[in-house]
Amino acid sequence: MSELDHIALQTLNLKIGYKKDDQVRVLFEPLSLTLTKGELVCFMGSNGIGKTTLIKTLAGIHPPISGSITRNFPAAIVLTDKVSGNLMTVRDLVTYGRYPYLNWWLTLTDQDHHLIETAIKKVHLESIANKHLSQLSDGQLQMAMIAKALAQDTNILLLDEPTAHLDLNNRVEIMNLLRSLARETGKTILVATHELDLALQTADKIWLATQHKKIVEGIPEDLVLDGTFDNEFQLKGFDLKTGKVKHTPYRKTLIQLEGSGPEFLWTKNALERNGYEVGPSKTQVTVTFKEGYPEYILSLSGAEVKFESLKDLLIRLKA
């Protein structure tokens, strides 16, 4: 297969924005972007920078100002728009995905029914398929919207902030779902999102909208290491390279830490969060296990004290 066969969507010198009367507001420098088959791309950038407009322009529901968009496949969208019709059930909503293929009387074929049920299963909403949208939680509603887009059976999915206002669990579930869809079904998925941490861990590629009206493209790790994210987000106290919030070792005490696994990492977290610096020292904390439970041994000038919880260890250290 040649390079061209992999392309799902391509823009060439695309200018997007708004025309009102004679005034033109262009949001980005001319964009030449490519989405290839089966990849999950996270489109990041601050609020109001034009993520929604780009999504809508790529979907063909907002006119570009100039330039071209080549869509080799139809695209389904998930937007943040409010849907009216509180009496609509989840299944009704998913059925909308079949509308492009239905006649005026909305006659559903067996194939349509099959695709609708498959989409509902994919997002695990079978048990509440007959519930009204007004009875759903925000996460379930978002899942139902994604199912609608899946029922559309398109090779391209464009999603605008699908994880906004959701709790961590729902956010992870949605990103994992999109991740697996891209891998298993070969769909090309573009997600506009603020979720830096989730995007870094799931995306094949990042599009980063910069303050200079450009969109920088790259794989997550490259953009972290070359400082592109730092420049753009002006991160305040968050060290992207370690993935942790920066702590000031204000207690000026060095503690040597021994151990392994998650217990080691969280002990380090507890110490740093409380202003200790971890490094070579005479004060030593060793993380071991006793009958399957973690045990923390503090060695202080020859004496050893054992603790069952980090809380007790910290109380002793601060004393």
């Binding site: 019709g85 609509m88 509308y99 009204h132």
Partner: protein, 297 residues
Amino acid sequence: MFSETGTSSEILWQFRLPKAITCVLAGSALACGGLMMQTLFRNPMAGPDVLGLTSGSSLLVAILLLAGRYGSFITFVQSPWSVALAASLGGAMVFVIIISIAKYVRDNTALLIVGLMISAATSSVVSVLQFTSQADDLQTFMIWMLGSVGSTNWSELVVLTITISMGLGISMSMIKALNGMLLGDSYAQNLAINIKRARTWIVIATGMMVGVVTAFCGPIAFVGLAVPHLVRLIIPVSNHKILLPAVMLGGAILLLICDVIAQLPGSTQVLPLNAITSMIGAPVVIWMVIKAKRISV
């Protein structure tokens, strides 16, 4: 049972049957128009009378009835088709005005206020026309304004039937677009639904239906607003494939009931229909708001 020349037969054919048919037609037309407006504006309080369509129809009918006397087109004015046309134009015109204002006013309440203002403005124009017209014209107009389904003759009934059938037909062909409107323009466009074209057809169908009903039965309030909500209480669906026919049926039933009440059983007195629909409609809407806490499209 009825002989061809009997009084009962006369009453049945010349009075009761046209009246019943008018109720069925007017009820389904107004309710269908109301549902489509609620969906189009995504506003549960929308309706032909609330947003001033009825007033628009009244205005053009008033101009035709009251000003026609001074013109030389008396025969034209007397044709039920011309009254129907004028009323439909009036309704559709107001609908177009409201749609263009709705682009700027996103707020549901603000849209209702605009509708009320349009009603008020057209009513005042009608008042001016009344003030400058002669007494007998005025009486004709006043009786018309109170609304009645009992005054339609067979030739008017033909116009009503043809126009409303067309309107209901157009409405039924719009179910896909109406469903799409519930999702909003962006989603509808992504689902290959032509909202713009649908909107035009909905304006035409609603204008036509509300127009002819207003022209021949006078302004009938509340049916367009209340019936869609009453039907949704009984059949909780949002799919217009089910909702549209149900609302048409519901409107017909409600108006038949209202007319039975207007007849004042056991009395020769007939009350104005508009008074009855409001008497039933207003408490029903208030009860719905209280019961459902919030009503929605």
